[in-house]
Symmetry: C2
Subunit: 550 residues, 2 copies
């Protein structure tokens, strides 16, 4: 097998301390190309550069950046990535197709654009399913082989490392195994370093993938890779099954983004290789950054990080069941498959209706309140009751730690203490004849015995309310100037019992070093937002070391 460790002239990425397996087992990321096909994702060049930096920091071996020449955005990405990013771990890969039928590779402008991108590695997609050659490509089986041969040979002559993606390989192998294998042999013989078997339609299951990889490896001798789509819900397992079958190159996307259901998710694949297979595919210390990097990439693509994603989801190590919670106090390792800190995540106890006393005690401990011991039995019982009652109304403390801590403080102190009390508010939103929209809010507060009426304008009614509140409080609490709203979520909760719907608002606030979340529930989005803001500022002032007086 050819596993070239030497780089081409176009490769400017020095590799200070490569992990031993970087070249032996390729981790190839295609978030920027195949991942961008996900419904709802629309990446700018700046987004692509930001994601490339995160992937390089995580330490994948290869980053497929897009299809230069196919659209101006991808062409610009390669140009700017070369200029602006000093890759420490990854090599940049340009994706493209084999030459057109009946032409030469050297004369094909699409192939030219791949070379012009300056990427040291090129990944060329080739047809390997006979029906696709005939119906989609509309050429002969022989010409398709010639297209693969010429394109790979030309790119190699120009000093590039070449990988070949065999599109629809598994379906093609089922329909015509000899032809599918012939495509692999042709690519490999022409100089492709890796031939990637793609389950493009995603219909495979692990046992099939492993058997096919094993057979193709034995029959062709080519170095093989795997590209799995998740249409059966088995993309991660299919990727690992291919490794079990002898593949030494895995193509994945961050958070499993991709067309239809998605691609094999980079994070559980890499975690399995590192933690379950014991293979060092990442630079030292990188696995600990996985949770942060997964969430950061979600932010760049403007999707909420998937809460239930393996390893990196905020729920991935969250325990709710009362049954477990009491046993976890004894020995947490009995209840988790890995130490969450290995992947930069952490164990959480959830406060909820089901959790019961043990969870509240553990959660209290996490927040710095010792609620154990028989002296606290009644108090813990009261907190459990209060949580149950509020959750019935639609509150959720699982996602609003700061609101839970305020509830807990109130119960510990035996009364609700606040920095300010609200008398009322009004918001007015107007769309005028010229189409412009104006938002005003008025709040009426009582602070340290003083009655305050304050007004604010904003780019929405909640923003106007926020500004009116700050304006009313700033003289008494200059600390509020540091607090910033960083996220705002609205959820309509349908009354499943025929009751009218309620609105739940979750607000995330930052003081520049830490973030906290608060919750509000009401029949009305503005009233719910008000409650969440009230908790957010109260908690922020408590964090700043102040004691409420009212």
């Amino acid at each position: 097998m050819t596993t070239e460790a030497s780089d081409t002239a176009a490769d400017t990425a020095p590799d200070a301390a490569p992990p031993p397996e970087r070249e032996a087992l390729h981790v190839f990321d295609t978030t920027l190309r195949d991942g961008a096909q996900r419904e709802g994702i629309n990446l700018t060049v700046a987004d692509k550069l930001a994601i490339a930096r995160f992937l390089d920091e995580f330490g994948v071996g290869f980053i497929e950046g897009g299809w230069p020449g196919a659209n101006p955005r991808d062409t610009e990405f390669f140009e700017r990535a070369r200029r602006e990013i000093d890759f420490r771990h990854a090599k940049l890969v340009a994706f493209g197709a084999t030459r057109k039928a009946g032409a030469t590779a050297a004369g094909d402008p699409q192939v030219r654009a791949l070379l012009d991108s300056g990427a040291p590695v090129v990944c060329v997609v080739a047809k390997s399913h006979d029906a696709h050659v005939a119906q989609a490509l509309r050429t002969t089986l022989e010409e398709n082989l010639a297209m693969v041969r010429d394109t790979v040979a030309h790119l190699r002559e120009q000093g590039r490392r070449v990988f070949v993606d065999c599109e629809h390989f598994f379906d093609g192998y089922t329909a015509n195994p000899e032809y599918a294998k012939e495509v692999v042999r042709t690519a490999y013989t022409a100089g492709a370093e890796v031939v990637v078997l793609c389950d493009t339609n995603g219909g495979m299951l692990p046992a099939q993938v492993q058997a096919v990889v094993r057979t193709v490896l034995a029959d062709t001798g080519a170095r093989l890779g795997i590209h799995a789509q998740d249409d059966t819900g088995c993309a991660v397992a299919n990727t690992l099954a291919a490794v079990d079958g002898g593949a030494t190159h895995v193509q994945c996307t961050a958070n499993g983004y991709g067309e239809r259901v998605g691609n094999a998710n980079l994070f559980p694949v890499v975690a399995a290789l590192e933690l379950k297979y014991g293979r060092r595919v990442l630079p030292e210390g990188a696995l600990k950054e996985m949770t942060r990097i997964s969430h950061a990439i979600a932010e760049v693509v403007n999707l909420t990080p998937a809460t239930h994603q393996p390893y990196v989801g905020i729920s991935a190590f969250a325990h709710k069941a009362g049954l477990h919670a009491s046993a976890i106090k004894v020995n947490p390792d009995l209840y988790q498959h890995i130490d969450p800190e290995l992947v930069g995540n952490s164990m959480r106890m959830l406060v909820s209706d089901m959790a019961g006393r043990a969870s509240v005690e553990l959660k209290g401990k996490e927040l710095g309140y010792d609620l154990s011991g028989s002296g606290n039995r009644e108090l813990v019982g009261r907190i459990v009751e209060r949580v149950k009652e509020r959750e019935l109304q639609g509150y959720t403390y699982e996602a609003a730690d700061a609101s839970f801590e305020l509830l807990l403080r109130d119960e510990v102190q035996g009364r609700s203490r606040r920095f300010f009390r609200l008398e009322g508010w009004r918001t007015i939103t107007d769309q005028r004849t010229d189409g412009t929209v104006a938002n005003e809010a008025i709040v009426r507060l009582r602070v340290k015995g003083e009655r305050i009426v304050a007004a604010g304008e904003g780019n929405g009614p909640v923003n106007a309310l926020d500004r009116a509140l700050r304006s009313g409080l700033e003289r008494h609490f200059p600390q509020l100037a540091r607090l910033q709203l960083v996220d705002y979520k609205v959820r309509i909760l349908e009354g499943t019992q025929g009751t009218s719907s309620t609105t739940r608002v979750l607000v995330t606030t930052s003081d520049g070093t830490e973030e906290w979340s608060t919750v509000g529930v009401a029949g009305n989005v503005i009233a719910a937002s008000w409650q969440a803001l009230d908790d957010a500022y109260t908690y922020g002032l408590v964090r700043a070391g102040l004691e409420p007086s009212e």
Copy 2:
């Protein structure tokens, strides 16, 4: 192997036309018990009854309803399920634990409650990991075996079918394989019909699962089941690997709901068994209901259906790539692993920045507009440009078919025609000193040359605006009375380039037979909602056969 087909006296569910494999390969659903452990799920008894009806309609063999006696909600569920649901396909299962250490099964109130539930099947959880016996159960290995033996024997004597869940089986097998197998043997010998190997911490990979199942089957002769958690992202594959290894009972949850990352997802497991393995585990015709039932259960648990779920997600058969779109016109079967109609889903073409001309043409065809042919080249180009420009502003037509159709109509007709024109609106929301909140809205419209000013009150500012709009339009358009808002979603779009954030609102509207979605984008939630409402009513009136005049 014991595979009792005869039911106990307590079982009142007649089985009109059982699929041949119902008893040979058990599909066991635990959404109501283990699935309810998911962070964010909180089920009422009515929710549980609704879900049980859907699961029975889908045709699973067994529905684990909860732990009667452990909490009043589950006790009530069993009581009401027996009275209110006429199960056509499924048998109800009560979940519980083995008897307490040092006591008798007959005298254990927890075991008594399982019998009192009236469920024909009982699933008993037992410890099979030696460290858990010592540290969590705090008893001896011998006493644990006696607890399993006594509990199973007692439940069998009382005429129940008994399954035993071996908790932490795979971790236990790794630590002490002989003891783990001894628990299986003990349960089976005492009369358990199936012994279920549970990957409670979810750390397994398919190859391991298959190997362990195969060995345990050979060494114990017990009928085996599998219960997989999804912490490695392989729960579906682990479940199928267990079947490959000889397991004949699979435990799953609808939509993969469950603690931490979740459980093996019922839908892709069943789809794989039916469509990939060719096993008939569901009643005739049930697989076609899968997408609807998946979404309905999500609605009951009050979670948005996962858009990228295998088989049933709205994105599962959605094609975006321009490259594919042009080839799909030739032969759709080359680009999907199954016909989406087999699972009640459908292929969709996405309109987006990346899709290009071929997708717009296909999408147009889907909506009844023939945009092919050279005469439409310029028109299609204009639509693609318009979509690009609007998506840059934050609109998303992928999720708002009705807004896209209005855009398409406008471009086909060369001008934007509407039923009414807006001059302006105002909303006022007030929280008074007594804490009550009031919402009012005023709209100023022009309809068929007439100027209309109308007002409305509602339980939120958008609801008030909606009512004001309806009140202003009802005389001209009585058809609006049939339209109902069925979903309302708000998303804050952060400007990743440092621009200020905008708000996107998606509204789903129903006329009783069909639903459609519309989108609005503005700096302000109310202004964005207004746009989405405007499109929603305009589209509804077009659907009702009216032609806009303005």
